[in-house]
């Protein structure tokens, strides 16, 4: 119906949803999600396991029918104009979306053939992609013998075989070691640099921080916050003071002292010498700058008070709030304290696999904002 204007400029948003709903039995996996994602940007859907991220992506990628609401991709309805949507998007799922029995080359050739490339063209394209992704040596091996990092690469290679206008990356680095994660991030940046819009779902805050320009925080099927990274952080407060003491015995003293000076709640970290205090309790009224100045003033006073009380400080820093803190503030719970009460994000995805790195809680503190 609209294949003629495939290359034509689309001025509107890449994705627009209104009241999107998907229920599985009694659970509302996605419960009225409104999104607007501008073309050419990286948008992060951030949330814990079972929040509804994957279900949302699967509806947008035409794999699931919404039970309510509307979703448009480049102006095309995902239900009524599914084929027009399919010709513009690519999906890299939580599970490697390649055929494990086939070799790397065969997988790419298969997809090239299915999207209309001639035979020779398909093999050329496959070879070029494998080369660019550093997989030439593994080209003739079955994908089931690939490592986790290699699978991700072949998966993404398959997704960009025909440069998509919109790329869904559903937890692209879940289960990868840090080095492979960085390499995947490099690939994503290269893809975005060519103008592809990316919708990224992740449960890792630093991933959203690294890649996305706007973020929607999603929990129990609802968007509970949306904005740029800076906006989200400012909505929580001016920042956090992170203190590491030399001597764990002095922590109660330091806690008392900081509470008095900073007039803020003090969080005792699992590490027995560390404390965190949120300062300049913002209420999202846009007074970020003033709050920031206050925070700096308060923090320097706190440091002076600590020195006067004879508490040796190994490390003292004032940082913008990390997304972890944003998340904590928004949901009232830190991701790692989350009970297992939620439905799986996806009908067939169960518990997180044991090999996955632990999300969120393992992030280093403090995290300076890069926005």
């Amino acid at each position: 119906m609209t294949s003629s204007n495939r290359t034509g400029p689309w001025a509107g948003p890449a994705i627009e949803t209104a009241g999107l709903v998907k229920t599985f039995g009694d659970t509302r996996a996605v419960d009225g999600v409104d999104l607007r994602i501008e073309a050419g940007t990286v948008y992060g859907l951030l949330g814990p396991n079972g929040a509804g991220k994957t279900t949302t992506v699967r509806m947008l990628a035409t794999l699931l029918r919404p039970d309510g609401g509307e979703a448009r991709v480049f102006g095309h309805d995902v239900v009524r104009e599914a084929d027009a949507v399919r010709s513009r998007v690519s999906l890299t799922g939580q599970y490697a979306s390649v055929d494990e029995d086939l070799t790397g080359t065969e997988n790419l050739v298969l997809l090239a053939r299915l999207t209309g490339h001639a035979k020779k063209d398909s093999y050329d394209r496959a070879a070029q992609l494998l080369d660019a992704f550093g997989l030439s040596e593994a080209a003739g091996r079955q994908v089931k013998n690939y490592s986790g990092g290699m699978r991700r690469r072949i998966d993404i290679a398959a997704s960009i075989l025909n440069t998509p206008e919109l790329l869904f990356l559903d937890e692209p680095t879940t289960g990868l070691d840090p080095r492979s994660r960085n390499q995947v991030w490099e690939i994503v940046r290269a893809v975005v640099a060519q103008g592809t819009t990316v919708l990224l779902t992740t449960q890792y805050l630093d991933e959203a921080d690294q890649l996305a320009s706007r973020i929607a925080v999603i929990d129990r099927g609802r968007v509970i916050a949306e904005g740029t990274k800076g906006e989200l952080k400012a909505s929580v407060g001016a920042g956090s003071v992170h203190v590491r003491l030399r001597d764990a015995d002095r922590r109660p003293d330091a806690e008392r002292l900081l509470r008095g000076v900073l007039d803020a709640e003090i969080q005792l970290e699992p590490d027995p010498v560390a404390l965190t205090a949120r300062v300049g309790n913002g209420n999202g009224n846009g007074n970020g700058t003033r709050n920031g100045k206050d925070a700096a003033k308060k923090a320097s006073r706190a440091l002076a008070e600590l020195a006067r009380a004879g508490i040796t400080v190994d490390n003292f820093s004032l940082g913008q709030p990390s997304l972890d803190e944003v998340f904590l503030a928004l949901t009232g719970k830190s991701d790692h304290q989350q009970p297992d009460h939620q439905q799986p994000d996806h009908p067939r995805s169960g518990d997180p696999r044991p090999g996955d790195p632990r999300p969120v809680s393992d992030l280093p503190h403090p995290k300076e904002a890069t926005a």
Binding site: G93, A96, L135, I160, R189
Partner: protein, 285 residues
């Protein structure tokens, strides 16, 4: 899958770096070719099925060893009692046992679909702008090859054991062709169950429950005239009876047009009913 996903760091560290400049060039250079038609995509999925056979040749066990076993077992077990000697019995039995084996191995289509649907690759296929049934038609095309292999194996064993078809090469080929056409149509029943049922085991269980009565309560082993009336009523209307009579007739050098028509009619009905049901399930999965 989870074992392999937990990558060894050593292996990943050895990976060549990603060339972002090459990548950028590739992304710019790619222009989407015109959309392929239904035949092209179905054949491409058929090619995928062939590749799977190539990589896992053990899976051909069910189309080689199993049919040989059936021919040997039934010929020597029943031959003396039913037809006086195994050599005489095989003239009657072989076309039927060929039908039975091939109809039985159609159920592996359902198993393959059921195993595959759990994997991420199905998501990718379903998010491609292609003719929707082609993924499943691809399976069936690959399976048609398996049916051909099974037929060739059994005919070879049969010829060694003394099967002498009066229809000659042409009659035998016509019989095999009819059998493959019917099996292709019949497989849509299994693709439906493959999508409908949750586990591989339940697909297997349901398949057996349908296949055993369908193949045994037919004219494959004995002539229906020897059965009680109520059983004859079922046997004479069983599509497998029509198929095996037609195949037997063709291999015997005659042209059983009524049985051929019945067989093709059943094939058409099976596709017309189970094809759309399968596609409905596939789209909803």
């Amino acid at each position: 899958m989870s074992t392999a996903t937990r990558s060894t760091t050593a292996e990943t560290a050895d990976l060549a770096p990603v060339s972002t400049t090459d990548l950028a060039a590739l992304l710019v250079g790619g222009k989407r070719p015109p959309r392929p038609n239904a035949l092209q995509t179905s054949l491409t999925f058929g090619w995928r099925a062939m590749l799977k056979i190539k990589h896992v040749p053990e899976q051909l066990f069910d189309v080689t060893a199993f049919p040989i076993m059936l021919v040997l077992m039934y010929t020597y077990l029943f031959g003396g009692a039913l037809a006086g000697s195994p050599r005489e019995y095989i003239q009657y039995l072989l076309p039927g046992i060929l039908v039975m084996s091939v109809v039985m191995i159609t159920m592996y289509t359902g198993l393959a679909v059921n195993i595959d649907i759990e994997k991420g690759v199905f998501d990718r296929f379903r998010s491609l702008p292609i003719w929707r049934p082609s993924t499943l038609v691809g399976y069936l095309l690959g399976d048609a090859l398996r049916y051909t292999i099974a037929s060739a194996v059994m005919l070879t064993v049969g010829l060694i054991m003394g099967f002498r078809p009066d229809g000659g090469v042409r009659g035998v080929l016509a019989g095999v062709l009819l059998l493959i056409v019917f099996s292709f149509a019949f497989s849509w029943v299994w693709t439906m169950f493959g999508l409908l049922l949750r586990t591989e085991k339940s697909v297997m269980g349901v398949s057996m429950m349908i296949l055993f009565p369908l193949t045994f309560l037919s004219d494959i082993f004995v002539r229906p005239e020897t059965m009680p009336g109520w059983l004859q009523a079922f046997v004479n209307n069983n599509p497998v009876t029509h198929l095996s009579s037609a195949v037997r007739g063709l291999m015997d050098g005659s042209w059983p047009s009524a049985e051929i028509a019945w067989t093709l009619g059943w094939a058409g009905v099976l596709v017309a009913v189970f094809g759309p049901v399968t596609m409905r399930l596939y789209n909803r999965k």
